[in-house]
């Protein structure tokens, strides 16, 4: 682990109102005996994963390079404050050249080995108007890697939230549509069934990482709809943590999946016997029938 657990000093850079809210939320978590929180941030490349991490920590913990994909290894930032440890794992983008970058995924999985993921932040942009197959693939890759259960602990984060919607659409409507479309893809990609909708009520949080983000009278960063998004994000995270679902512990089995070579191995003797009696024997009988039915020359009786 590259980073030592450092004091969370970045929190001091937030507006005091934000600080208060955050500490309040953390205090609440502590009451619930949650002393560590590990957040995994995943998503396509260039959607603002690293920026979001930096925004939450309140310092430039991860280098952000807007034009190039970040270092192809995940990076964990750990900060502690008053006995509470916050781990945020930033990951490289999963998409490379129009395909899922298996290698990146593999590295992420290895990195996460023996760690517990409390919350997954699935990051995408608010100002992307369309969803496509790629989104679905990303979701699917995440699901395949960590199991469906991870979506119980997931928060969909939409970055670049400070925008004026096209065609004069009201901001709320636009956000609703965009998040609805994305959620649909997530559900599809994760293979979540409709009846599970309640179980997987994915919260959506809007985020604006830009320094030009509007601020309210308390100097908090706010969205066009007036919400202070950092407290909102942390609040949603704490809600997810306390929604009763289990954290995902990443072990070897989870990474490699169940060993398909072991599946059904005990049944092999039975299968072999069934094959003998229900495939080989019937075919043998059919051959016997063929021999009897065979049209022979009249002389061969």
């Amino acid at each position: 682990m590259a980073s030592l657990i450092r004091e969370w000093v970045g929190i001091n850079t937030f507006a005091s109102a934000t600080q208060t809210k955050l500490l309040e939320l953390l205090g609440k978590l502590k009451q619930e005996n949650v002393n560590t929180l590990t957040i995994l941030v995943m998503g396509k490349g260039g959607v603002g994963k690293s920026s979001t991490v930096n925004s939450i920590i309140g310092e430039r913990a991860v280098s952000v390079n807007p034009f190039q994909s970040e270092a192809p290894t995940p990076f964990m930032v750990s900060r502690s404050r008053a006995g509470f440890t916050l781990n945020i794992i930033d990951t490289p983008g999963l998409i490379e050249g129009g395909y899922i970058n298996d290698r990146a995924l593999e590295i992420i999985k290895r990195f996460l080995l023996n760690k517990t993921i409390d919350v997954l932040l699935y990051v995408d942009r608010l100002d992307a108007y369309r969803v496509d197959n790629l989104d679905r693939q990303v979701v699917k890759a995440i699901t395949d890697s960590f199991g469906k259960g991870i979506w119980n602990r997931a928060v969909v984060v939409l970055t670049h939230a400070q925008l004026s919607p096209p065609d004069g659409l009201p901001y709320e409507d636009f956000c609703f549509k965009r998040s609805g479309a994305l959620l649909k893809v997530v559900r599809l990609g994760a293979g979540l069934k409709r009846r599970n909708k309640q179980d997987f009520a994915l919260p959506v949080v809007l985020v604006e990482n830009s320094g030009r983000c509007n601020k309210n009278e308390n100097d908090e960063k706010v969205l066009p709809n007036g919400t202070a998004w950092i407290p909102d994000l942390v609040k949603t995270i704490t809600e997810v943590v306390s929604n009763g679902s289990k954290s995902i512990f990443v072990d070897k089995k989870l990474i490699e999946g169940p060993n398909p070579n072991e599946r059904g191995k005990l049944l092999i003797p039975l299968i072999f016997a069934l094959q003998y009696f229900f495939v080989v024997k019937p075919i043998e009988r059919a051959i016997g029938d063929d021999i009897e039915k065979e049209s022979r020359p009249s002389w061969d009786n």
């Binding site: 970058n101 290698r103 191995k265 092999i268 094959q275 080989v280 020359p297 002389w299």
Partner: protein
């Protein structure tokens, strides 16, 4: 006091031309046997049917086989020639016509031969010599006996005149073939008389006469006027096989016998014949043909010579059509009763004789055990059965399939010791037991700098050897070694050594099991490590297998069989540069190559050893119908791992293939007939439970999987399903076809370690459709790959199904 009675027995032989073609049938002395009674009887003397000059000269030439009811005979004769009433009056009298005859059979035989082989007969005549003019006024009718004995007459024409119908019959009449005289031929009086005599005695004619008509140019035209023999109408027909029955030896009849003695004599003959009929084997003639002949008898009313000829032809035709090439109708007996008895020599096999010949054709003691040959012979060819040419051909094919002989002859030969019997003679020339072959080739490979150098000259080639027919039991050892570089053979040495041991349960056991033990190696490009569409250049993986295999094959039919055995092999996976690699390579998005792709082996080292049981059962009842395959084929194969080998591989890998060839239209079977359109439906399921190394994963795509894709282009999975349909329409001796195929990994690509399907960006399922034409051995087809939507032309060898 002599009367001419109608013949009761008609003997004939098959046409010689046919005989030559089919088989050297026994030249039995099968003759035209007509039974002409030379006896006198009180009743017949009163009747005096048409006195003939011939009558006085008549000698009963023929050996008769049987007698018939003489009383009925006479009755009938008279009913034709005289009034019916008088015939009725003498009806009870057992005189006359029954089986007279003696032992001068030889002449008759020659007659029949002449009769059916006019060319032979004519060859006897001095044709080159000039002929004599008749020296008589033109256009007068001359009796035969008025002709000069010293002249050679040239015949301008031969006319047949049927007295009963009062018409001249044409050459198409069945009687015409009985005359050996030919227009334009030159004959002297004796020959003509002989001809007449033979015609008169053959039994076909009640009365026959010959007269000449002089022509102005010195030739004469001959008119043969005849009255066809007829007998009482019959309503029953019986066919018997008299093949191996001894010829009855008629007792010489004493001319001084009293009427009573004669009656006794005829009765005894009659009794003998009845006994003969009873003792005779029933013949093979089936009921439908029987019925057909009965119908002929019924339609005809009276039994006439022509009818008997037709019956003979019909019966013989059936025999020849069925392949009983040695069968011949030799006699009609029991005429003038209600029942016509057709006597057939069917050609019973008395002996099977297997001979081995050396290169010069001398009979030698062969190396091959006779039982090996015998078991290939159809039962029909064994002693006690009737010889059949098709069975002979079958034997030829079967023996040829043994691959032990360079020349095989199956000949039916008349049995000299047992008249009417056939000896099946099989003459075999054995192949050399040991053969060895060396084929060499030099190849020049580009050396450094792309230029061939002397050092890059590589001697390569193949050494094969075979030791066949060990112990005369068709056991064999064969082996081959192939390399492209004998100087450095470890690079690509391919070898195979196989021992084949047929008749595992003994050469006399009908169970046909063959043991095969072989050592082998092989090198194949793995279709598992192949890129999907749009992925160029996946570094190839070679899969080398070397091992020992022992299996037992049980042949149920020519095509259906069950094989089971043990395979022990070592699998080595290598990359392009022939170094052992434990993982497949993959191209990174940035263009680099990483060697951490899907594992190639179970052990993870690049080398696996394993032992497993392998069983394969094939049910194949397909057959060619005018060149198109119809029927069905099912194959089930299972590889059962035993937990012996690297990482103790324990698995059950199975595949089931079902293929049906539906005939879409009924067609007549036969040469030259068009083949039917055929619909082919094909399904293939493959699955594996337990340890599955990537080289044993099922791959989808390729000319024998899903056409239109490259080998493995669709994916490599643990379970697969392939479905295909093809319709074949015959066109001008070949066929065109349209097909649609689908392959699916059933979502089990991820169950192969390392998921090579996904790593190499394959979809895991795919369909294709296309059309094609069969051009000899090559299939030319245009197939559209549904995943990318593009089509391409392919040329493939062999059949997809």
């Amino acid at each position: 006091m002599q009367s001419l009675a109608a013949p009761t027995h008609l003997h004939s032989t098959p046409l010689p031309s046919r005989r030559k073609l089919l088989s050297p049938t026994p030249r039995r002395s099968l003759q035209c046997h007509s039974l002409l009674s030379s006896s006198s009887s009180s009743s017949s003397s009163s009747s005096t049917p048409k006195p003939e000059p011939l009558k006085s000269t008549f000698v009963p030439l023929f050996k008769t086989i049987a007698a018939s009811s003489a009383a009925a005979l006479l009755l009938h004769v008279r009913s034709i020639s005289l009034d019916f009433g008088s015939g009725g009056g003498s009806g009870g009298f057992g005189g006359g016509g029954g089986g007279g005859g003696d032992g001068h059979g030889g002449d008759g035989g020659s007659f029949w031969r002449k009769l059916f082989a006019p060319a032979v007969a004519n060859a006897d005549e001095p044709q080159s010599q000039e002929w004599d003019s008749h020296g008589l006024p033109a256009n007068i009718v001359v009796q035969l006996n008025k002709l000069s004995s010293f002249k050679k007459y040239k015949l301008s024409e031969i006319l047949f005149f049927d007295r009963r119908r009062w018409t001249t019959v044409g050459t198409e009449d069945s009687f015409f073939e009985m005359v050996s005289l030919r227009p334009g031929g030159i004959y002297n009086k004796a020959q003509l008389q002989k001809e007449l005599e033979t015609l008169a005695t053959c039994g076909m004619f009640e009365k026959v006469d010959m007269e000449g008509k002089t022509n102005p140019d010195g030739t004469i035209g001959v008119t043969i006027s005849f009255t066809e023999s007829t007998w009482q109408s019959a309503d029953r027909f019986r066919c018997i096989n008299v093949g191996l029955m001894p010829q009855s030896k008629p007792i010489e009849m004493d001319a001084d016998m009293t009427d009573k003695e004669k009656m006794e004599y005829y009765r005894s003959l009659e009794k003998d014949y009845k006994r003969r009929i009873e003792r005779a084997k029933p013949c093979l003639l089936p009921i439908p043909v029987h019925r057909e002949i009965l119908q002929m008898l019924r339609d005809q009313g009276k039994v006439s010579a022509r009818l008997l000829q037709r019956i003979r032809d019909r019966v013989q035709k059936w025999y020849f059509d069925e392949g009983y090439a040695c069968a011949q109708v030799v006699n009609f007996g029991n005429l003038n009763t209600k029942e016509v008895v057709c006597e057939v020599v069917e050609g019973d096999i008395t002996e099977t004789n297997i001979q081995f010949l050396d290169k010069l054709g001398n009979v030698v003691e062969g190396n091959t055990q006779v039982a090996v040959v015998i078991r290939e012979m159809p039962r029909q060819l064994r002693p006690g059965n009737v010889f059949n040419i098709e069975a002979g051909k079958q034997a030829l094919r079967n023996i040829n399939a043994l691959g032990l002989f360079s020349n095989i002859e199956v000949n039916p030969r008349p049995d000299e010791k047992k008249e009417g019997g056939i000896i099946v003679e099989i003459k075999l020339k054995e192949l050399d037991q040991k053969t060895a072959e060396v084929a060499t080739e030099w190849s020049i490979v580009p050396g450094r700098g792309g230029r061939p150098t002397l050092a890059s000259l590589q001697p390569g080639g193949t050494v094969t050897f075979e030791h066949r027919n060990i112990n005369g039991l068709n056991r064999s050892i064969n082996g081959s070694v192939t390399t492209s570089n004998f100087l450095n053979p470890q690079d690509d040495l391919a070898f195979k050594l196989e021992y084949v041991h047929p008749y595992l349960d003994g050469v006399f056991d009908p169970l046909n099991r063959t043991l095969r033990v072989s050592c082998f190696n092989s090198r194949k490009l793995s279709p598992v490590f192949t890129g999907g569409p749009g992925v160029d250049e996946v570094p190839p993986i070679w899969v080398d297998r070397a091992g020992v295999k022992a299996n037992i094959t049980e042949n149920f039919t020519r095509q259906s069989k069950f094989t089971y055995g043990l395979v022990m092999e070592e699998i080595t996976t290598r990359n392009e540069s022939s170094t052992i690699c434990p993982n497949g390579q993959r191209v990174l998005p940035n263009g680099g190559i990483s060697a951490d792709g899907p594992p190639t082996t179970l052990s993870g080292t690049g080398i696996d050893q394993m032992a497993f049981l392998q069983a394969n059962i094939t049910r194949d009842n397909t057959k060619f119908l005018n060149g198109a395959i119809v029927g069905s084929r099912n194959v089930f194969q299972v590889d059962q791992g035993l937990g012996i080998g690297s990482k103790f591989p324990f698995f059950n890998r199975h595949q089931l293939t079902l293929t049906r060839f539906f005939q879409l239209r009924e067609v007549e079977e036969g040469a030259g007939q068009p083949p039917p359109p055929v619909l082919v439906l094909h399904g293939h399921y493959g699955g594996c439970v337990g340890d599955l190394p990537s080289y044993d994963a099922f791959t989808l795509g390729g000319p024998y999987s899903v056409r239109g894709y490259n080998m493995g282009e669709i994916g490599a999975a643990r379970n697969i399903l392939e479905l295909a349909a093809e319709i074949r329409i015959p066109v001008k001796g070949t066929h065109v076809y349209a097909f649609a195929e689908h392959g699916n990994d059933l979502g089990t690509s991820k169950d192969v370690k390392g998921n090579p399907t996904e790593v190499y960006r394959r979809l895991g399922h795919g369909s294709s459709y296309g059309v094609g034409a069969k051009l000899g051995l090559v299939r030319a087809e245009y197939a559209v790959d549904h995943n990318s939507g593009t089509g391409a032309f392919f040329f493939r060898f062999g059949e997809r199904f």
